[in-house]
């Protein structure tokens, strides 16, 4: 049984300009202990989808229009704020892209680390402090006692992200949602943080949803990948299969536009045009206007994500019909 089973999640924002269809019928699942990747460019809806699960969408203007998200038998989208509060930060934790804005600048690092333990586990200050020190050591910050009384601004970006991770994992959650956790960091620090996440995942046996735009990062750490575009899942597959043979024109175009897949000097493949405006209703496949393989049919009807073989699904008519 999956740890998290999201079905037809739909989140819209009702703004003065119109309805922004940020997430449109997204389904995915996470097995206990596995790492999945949700990949997409800015505006693809990957962050809104994960915030929706935790009830962190500002409402209004945001509204979850449809869908279920079963976590351990509880529907996160229907369970109400009280239940959600008891799950968030305890069974499901989240880390964000920018560790500077995600930490409270007016609270000492130690107090921020101890807070979830005191709130969720009812530990005393002293017990929480011991656990916080242990956790700092686990994420590779030595001299825990001194660093607990430091302020966030005294830490570098990499150190802050370690603190964020320590904060998210201190309650030993079953699921960690990591939204671009290394995007703001340098590559050598990124490598350290990814290694740290993988090690902690093994040690704590938790599942991870990694949200990123970086195809290299997902190739390194994820077992399965969902590719999002314009608020929909375009393709899902095991990591090796996806990179070896993408089964959606968008994934293919995305992989081809990476400089590292090119011989030096030859022009890079580009995807013409821009992602669609999510306020205007989209008839047909959202990628069709930019797709080199699109036919009339692609602009008339909207394809749905359909399984080709077990564990491998695509939302492209032409691939589904064996034409591509």
């Amino acid at each position: 049984m999956p740890l998290l089973d999201v079905h037809e999640l739909t989140t819209h924002f009702h703004t003065r300009e119109g309805v922004v269809r940020a997430v449109n019928g997204v389904s995915f699942r996470v097995e206990p202990g596995e790492t999945i990747g949700i990949v997409g460019e800015s505006g693809s809806g990957k962050t809104v989808a994960s915030l929706s699960l935790l009830g962190l969408i500002p409402a209004p203007p945001g509204r979850i229009e449809n869908g279920t998200a079963l976590f351990d038998g509880v529907d996160l989208l229907a369970c109400g704020p009280k239940t959600l509060r008891s799950i968030r930060g305890r069974a499901i934790s989240m880390i964000f892209q920018d560790p500077m804005t995600a930490l409270n600048p007016f609270m000492r690092v130690g107090d921020q680390l101890m807070e979830p333990l005191q709130v969720h586990r009812g530990l005393s200050r002293r017990e929480a402090r011991t656990r916080a020190e242990e956790m700092l050591r686990l994420v590779g910050i030595q001299d825990g006692a001194r660093n607990l009384s430091a302020w966030p601004h005294e830490f570098s970006g990499g150190m802050r992200q370690r603190v964020m991770i320590a904060m998210a994992l201190i309650t030993r959650p079953h699921l960690l949602i990591a939204d671009e956790p290394t995007t703001a960091l340098d590559v050598t620090i990124q490598a350290q943080i990814l290694e740290l996440l993988a090690r902690l995942q093994r040690e704590l046996g938790m599942a991870v949803i990694l949200i990123t735009h970086d195809l290299g990062v997902v190739a390194r750490v994820c077992r399965r990948i969902y590719v999002m575009y314009a608020g929909q899942v375009m393709e899902s597959a095991a990591t090796e299969a996806l990179f070896a043979r993408p089964r959606h024109p968008y994934t293919e175009a995305l992989l081809q536009s990476l400089p590292s897949t090119h011989v030096k000097g030859e022009p890079l493949h580009t995807i013409p045009g821009l992602p669609p405006d999510l306020i205007a209703p989209i008839a047909g496949c959202p990628f069709a206007p930019r797709c080199a393989s699109a036919t009339d049919r692609c602009t008339r009807g909207a394809p749905t994500l359909r399984e080709l073989v077990p564990g491998r699904a695509t939302a492209c008519f032409r691939v589904q019909d064996g034409e591509l």
């Binding site: 590559v187 490598a191 190739a219 536009s257 580009t270």
Partner: protein, 327 residues
């Protein structure tokens, strides 16, 4: 051999750091750029890579005098421009342009595309009257924007389109040298490819010399003839792009290249990674000797003693490591 277009000699940019609001006392000096020597030949593209805080952007800014140099010289077109007085420097400035990372911040939100592109032409007296309109629409076409959008404001454009406007603005004065400071870092992959192609095309078309600054080595490798690697204010490796990328000699470059995630899960599984401990030291308090030695897996005691100079290791390839012969 032709004379380099840009010649940096022992360039230094140091910033004093003070503490206290009323009684200011000197805390120390940040050695953002600490003795960098680099030549860029006409028509050449040199990629400058390094992690945040290594001084690569400060170097770019020092060349165009957005920050003052504290030592060393900058030569351009055979003249030492770092010694020039302000009016003389301003006469050179059109031929020396900068493109910034964030196209959201580098364009004035209250100026239309037309205003943004017409301003440099007018300031430097390159066009007036109807000529301005013609030049602006030419520039827009050059960077792949429809001239009918010239009365629009920056917020009406996407990130990629804004970067095109910023590039057009830098090219308005037909510069010889363009310094591009992380021009594609803020963009999505598919848009990044469009802008990289644009830069490559303009380089050929206009015969531009390019100092291309980025933290993404695969992007730099794709575009550059030579790559310079910077760490804590110093160059640690310099050489032909393919050499530096495929056969890095300095331990830091090796770590940097091995840390880049490759979009290939099969290779990712088997790839050896150079594990680094710690994080870069603060440029306020750099380590003694080789700036990289506290993080270097190959370091030995003598690395803490002297700062290794850049030494040749074959065909225009240089690295600053005292264990170079063993690397």
């Amino acid at each position: 051999m032709t004379r380099p277009l840009l010649e940096l000699r022992e360039l230094r940019v140091h910033f004093p750091v003070y503490a206290g609001l009323v009684r200011r006392r000197l805390l120390g000096t940040v050695r953002a750029v600490d003795g960098v020597s680099l030549d860029v030949a006409p028509g050449e593209t040199v990629g400058l890579v390094g992690e945040s805080g290594c001084g690569k952007s400060t170097l770019a800014r020092a060349v165009v005098r957005l920050v003052p140099c504290t030592g060393g010289t900058v030569g351009f077109e055979g003249r030492e421009i770092s010694a020039l007085r302000e009016p003389a420097f301003r006469a050179i400035r059109p031929r020396l342009q900068l493109i910034f990372q964030d196209p959201y911040a580098s364009l004035n939100p209250r100026m239309t595309v037309f205003d943004a592109l017409a301003e440099p032409l007018r300031v430097h007296g390159l066009a007036d009257g109807r000529d301005v309109l013609r030049r602006v629409s030419d520039l827009m076409e050059l960077v792949g924007l429809a001239p009918r959008f010239m009365r629009k404001y920056p917020h009406e454009f996407s990130g990629g389109q804004r970067q095109r406007i910023a590039i057009a603005r830098a090219l308005a004065l037909e510069p010889k040298l363009v310094i591009a400071d992380e021009p594609v870092s803020a963009l999505d992959v598919s848009v990044q490819a469009q802008i990289l192609n644009l830069i490559a095309r303009l380089r050929e078309q206009m015969g531009l010399t390019l100092l291309f600054i980025a933290h993404d080595l695969s992007v730099v490798h794709y575009l550059s003839h030579r790559i310079a690697v910077m760490y804590l204010g110093r160059l640690v490796e310099l050489g032909p792009a393919g050499e530096v990328f495929h056969r890095p000699r300095h331990p830091y470059t090796r770590a940097l290249i091995s840390a880049i995630p490759v979009p290939d899960p099969v290779r990712e599984k088997t790839r050896q990674r150079v594990a680094l401990h710690d994080e870069p030291a603060s440029p306020l308090n750099p380590p003694s000797g080789c700036p990289f030695h506290p993080r270097c897996p190959w370091a030995e005691p003598r690395c803490a003693e002297t700062v290794p100079p850049l030494e040749s290791c074959g065909d225009g390839h240089q690295a600053a490591c005292i264990r170079l012969d063993q690397m």
